[in-house]
């Protein structure tokens, strides 16, 4: 299969995008302003991201479908209200993460947003559990655009009336020109924002409206530093099939009922880990000075024992310091613990830090 392009490819090009191959797609890594400016702009104004390479999987079904999906996804799908979303995972029988995802209850079934690189294996796994009568399809008619940043709501409200009332992790259908878009208040940057599933034929008009309203294009480079500051995992780096959600410090994403009742892939292992703790765990790490500890950098204790590895690391533009996360022997995972990282054969001091590095309050309704 050749390289795929999103409906916005030419528009990205006209905006000065530099492209990189990503999960079989040519995607913008940055535009003219560069990663640092794009990052800061998302934190202070609003930026848009073309995330159309991600999978928008729609599975049609009723209550029985909730039961079926609960076997592979540890979210509380039975209790999930219409147009509400949850961050969750697709698990293998060892509890390892096949993919992390956002699942939303729609009127006729579930919408699942999947990582681009995992689409095929995800669908393969999900289809094994579905009855033959269940219909599912990967949406190719709609682009997926993330609008992120503190100014997102006021800007989007101009064209999608009522969107400002959506609470974090809730969605709804909104008319745009003569088509219907599905908008959720969500994102992966740590900022307030929305994800908009919109007809490929209409997406350029939406982007032009954004540009007229001073929304800037943001590439994958800034998306990575934004999610890293927000302490969010990147699949294939911070998560994979040999890591379970408890080790990833994501047990909050498994509801209380599911933690007690289980009934999902890998529950026997996850149950044990919930009771006894895990031998390694994902933590935040801040190296001293300006030293950047990137993926693969080894972590050592003060007495020179190898105790872990960095899985994501870069410079955090909003914090103006390097930030990293990785897996570490649980004994050393307490916030504030002094550790060492080995970069270019030299040892540097670092300390264990609480995640996220950067936190903003999401819109939960009320005032």
């Amino acid at each position: 299969m050749g390289v795929q392009k999103t409906a916005l490819y030419d528009l990205h090009k006209s905006l000065g995008a530099k492209f990189v191959p990503f999960a079989g797609y040519e995607m913008p890594i940055q535009y003219k302003d560069g990663i640092v400016k794009e990052h800061i702009y998302t934190r202070t104004g609003a930026g848009f991201f073309d995330v159309s390479h991600m999978g928008q999987l729609f599975i049609q079904g009723n209550e029985n479908l909730s039961k079926t999906l609960e076997k592979i996804i540890p979210a509380d799908l039975k209790e999930l209200k219409l147009n509400h979303s949850k961050y969750s995972f697709l698990l293998n029988d060892k509890g390892g993460v096949i993919d992390d995802l956002i699942i939303t209850k729609r009127s006729k079934g579930f919408l699942i947003i999947l990582n681009a690189a995992c689409k095929d294996k995800d669908i393969n796994q999900i289809s094994k559990f579905l009855d033959k009568s269940i219909r599912y399809s990967l949406d190719r008619k709609n682009s997926l655009i993330a609008l992120q940043g503190p100014k997102s709501a006021e800007i989007l409200e101009k064209i999608f009336k009522g969107v400002i009332q959506l609470k974090f992790m809730q969605g709804g259908e909104f008319r745009y020109e003569d088509s219907v878009s599905y908008v959720t208040r969500s994102g992966y940057t740590g900022e307030d924002g929305f994800e908009i599933s919109i007809d490929n034929k209409k997406v350029k008009n939406l982007i032009n409206f954004f540009i007229e309203n001073n929304v800037k294009p943001i590439g994958l480079g800034a998306r990575d530093t934004l999610r890293l500051e927000a302490g969010l995992c990147l699949y294939g780096h911070d998560l994979d099939e040999n890591i379970n959600p408890i080790e990833a410090n994501l047990k909050w994403a498994i509801s209380k009922r599911r933690r007690t009742e289980g009934g999902f892939n890998g529950f026997n292992i996850i149950k044990k880990d919930l009771e006894n703790g895990t031998s390694k765990i994902r933590v935040g790490i801040i190296p001293e000075g300006r030293i950047i500890a990137r993926e693969g950098v080894k972590i050592f204790s003060e007495d020179e024992k190898e105790i872990g590895k960095i899985t994501s690391g870069s410079f955090g533009p909003s914090l103006n310091q390097p930030v990293a996360m990785g897996y570490i022997d649980t004994k050393y995972s307490k916030e504030g613990t002094a550790v060492n990282v080995k970069v270019r054969d030299k040892i540097y001091n670092a300390k264990i830090c609480k995640l996220p590095f950067y936190k903003k309050n999401h819109f939960k309704g009320g005032e």
Binding site: G34, V36, K37, H39, G221, D224, T225, R290, I292, R294
Partner: protein, 126 residues
């Protein structure tokens, strides 16, 4: 008059008598993107021709900076280690990396003139 010469690794070399000032070209900074970390060598360090001498990191990746000529480091630009954005702002001026006491002047002959470098960039787009 000092002359500026260029390497295929996108470093520039400006000779001032027996010493040479070395940095990375504007083109290199454009390829790297926002520079967020720089490590410069200690004075007294001996460097081989095209030997790894400094490190530069953008948000995306880490890259080595090589010395296009051999010699001994006599001074390093500590100010770019404190504020790496200076390299993006003025790569061929305030953003210099290190100064070297030239060991073998003939090594300069194999480097490119600015016209040659312009041509090289066009023929080798990144």
């Amino acid at each position: 008059m000092s002359e500026v010469k260029f390497s295929k690794n996108h470093e520039w070399v400006k000779t001032e008598g027996d010493t040479a000032v070395i940095g990375i070209t504007k083109h290199a900074t454009e390829m790297l993107g926002d520079i967020v970390f720089v490590e410069v060598p200690e004075s007294g360090k001996t460097v081989e021709i095209n030997g790894q001498t400094a490190v530069v990191e953008s948000t995306k990746a880490a890259s080595d900076v090589y010395s296009p000529i051999s010699g001994e480091v006599v001074e390093s630009n500590k100010s770019i280690a404190d504020d790496p954005s200076k390299v993006n702002a003025d790569p061929e001026g305030e953003g210099w990396f290190f100064k070297i006491k030239i060991k073998n002047k003939s090594e300069l002959d194999s480097l490119m003139s600015s016209t040659e470098y312009e041509k090289f960039k066009k023929e080798n787009p990144s």
